[in-house]
Subunit: 415 residues, 2 copies
Amino acid sequence: MRSQVVIVGGGFGGLYAAKALRRAPVRVTIVDRTNHHVFQPLLYQVATAGLSAIDIGEPIRRVLRRQVNATVLLADVTGIDLDGHRVDLASGGILEYDYLIVAAGAGHSYFGHDDWAEHAPGLKTIEDALEIRRRILLAFERAELADDPAERTHLLTFVVLGAGPTGAELAGAIAELARHALRADFRRITPGDARIVLVEGGDRMLSSYPASLSTKAQRQLERLGVEVRTGEMVTGIDGRGVDTSADRIEAATVLWAAGVAASPLGASLGTPLDATGRVLVEPDLTLPGHPEVSVVGDLAAVTQDGAPVPGVAPAAMQMGRHASRNIERALDELPTEPFRYVDRGSMATLGRSSAIATIGGLRLSGFPAWAAWLLVHIVFLIGFRNRIVVLFEWAKAYLTYGRSARLILFRESED
Amino acid sequence: MRSQVVIVGGGFGGLYAAKALRRAPVRVTIVDRTNHHVFQPLLYQVATAGLSAIDIGEPIRRVLRRQVNATVLLADVTGIDLDGHRVDLASGGILEYDYLIVAAGAGHSYFGHDDWAEHAPGLKTIEDALEIRRRILLAFERAELADDPAERTHLLTFVVLGAGPTGAELAGAIAELARHALRADFRRITPGDARIVLVEGGDRMLSSYPASLSTKAQRQLERLGVEVRTGEMVTGIDGRGVDTSADRIEAATVLWAAGVAASPLGASLGTPLDATGRVLVEPDLTLPGHPEVSVVGDLAAVTQDGAPVPGVAPAAMQMGRHASRNIERALDELPTEPFRYVDRGSMATLGRSSAIATIGGLRLSGFPAWAAWLLVHIVFLIGFRNRIVVLFEWAKAYLTYGRSARLILFRESED
């Protein structure tokens, strides 16, 4: 009988692990609580109406349809029994495994202030992106309806908390939406008057990049009309705005990009975690004491050359593939190999023709970085049905400044 | 001061009324409870994962962005004060009008059984379509998870109630989804085993078409594997299935396409209604006793040559344009003109290369009808940004039998 490999999570880590096993003499079962893999690096585009959900989401079973050794299940995992070698599902079902890959990813962390969540949604899932889009677009709609100028100003103020890549990209995209895409669409308000504030607790934005690029990124965002504030800690968030260590900002729309926390499934394994809840793994990505279990992606705490491997898509893909290769080695009775992250560079886009990037030793900003970003994202959308559609949308958006995915769905009718 | 025209509703009636006033010396305010116009004839494609929401929904303010005399408001209308010439909004705002066009459309009617609604959603809005898609796709997902064969059969049974155009199109599209698009995607179930039942209370399906085309349509649906039952009344719907006058059908997914009811805004006007709640209007589409108020689209009861004008998109467009032309005539102190519906034909599509159509005296079925349907729908998507995308999706779907808009969103995690 073939070995059973169970993979929990259909993000970059889990999906690439499953794909890497396509020729292995195993049965693969991949479980996710959603039916789709998400191209997370473009989530902010969905949140700001530049792309629609379908452009960056793809049913996991569709991706794996030709991989006959893979079964895809839509289910919530409620527990992992390491001794019993089984995964429990909310549906009541049980998955027995010989090898397990846990790739459950991360969610938002509000640093103990869970009451902030309703006022400041974060961006991890397509539902999150649609909720953020709904809030942004509704703010403009309500401003158009409002008669009181103070209320209009309140509605047209947007605060993004956290100036890592997600926060920077969100702030830049909201600024472009307000200044360009919506410009001609309102009669009572001037969308370009919108105030967009990006608040960062650290002393510079995009702190994972070299300081020179942070400075350039800040300048690019400011040129788009974003107010960048560094060294300001968030001390409170309520339904009307944000308190920081320096100020009070009245804003109808507040978005959270300040902290992530590993999936609680990591803690349920009962092995040591790092400060953000990620599972400390062996150099080969396996769980201490459980060579048959690997943890990959954002849920794994991996240190390399004294620095943590970053929680980015390429790292998750590489870990997923590596875990699967180690399973193949174990089946061949070969020793497993330690994981090594190959950093091919990173990039953040800040608007039309605006971006920063590090590629090898190269540091790019402005149009060259943006062109590199576009190229890489188009290439990595390979396997996604929508590459042509996305390319077409981008080409059109570039020429027209348009953002065409502007449906407001699931609005409460009582609003 | 320019005359104020308020239009309630941004469907085909309201939107075409607004557009027809683009050169008129008036100020137009169009109010809708959603931010988007929907290309309703293709809603069933969104419900069955053939198209995504964005392909058939377009922000109303985007459609009217260049029409400088038009203001678009996203708001719920809570009442119309005919004597005071004003429309009340849920936001507390008030819109005063010199002319009013009510184009609030229709919703579902469960014939007094409102408790059926949760078990058998209908298809009128994009949210409805996404909910139906979610139910259809989740049924397949749950069947893949289920261990009990009886439960699988239950999950793979789909009942569509009502065999008018919407019901027929839904049933055909579900059959194609099961037999083709999903065929290779599951490991434990065979999606092609799904049972699709179309139940019609009348003695033939598509009763608004000539009897010979009804017969051909039924044969085409049966060839797709749909079980068509006519002369069977629905007597009960619960969480596990449907009772009809002839049978009990156990089914996890039940969809409602059996009845529409006019918007309650019609009744609030206080003038006579027809049996389905539509407003009886004068020959020029104005409200009896209120020549400054017109009612158009699905909310208007118009009889022509002894037969009711059907509740279809072309009729609503024509009424909307007509009401606006009459406003222009009134401004010029000319008498209004009576409305005449020009029937350019109608068509229903039943699957790939399957359709029926009447165009003038012509009766088409099969591929010619399908080609005509495609041509007309592409032409009428003019003004929609997504015509090229939709065309591209259809071309690909035609070649591959694919249905690629298969995201399940807003699933309750507890399921």
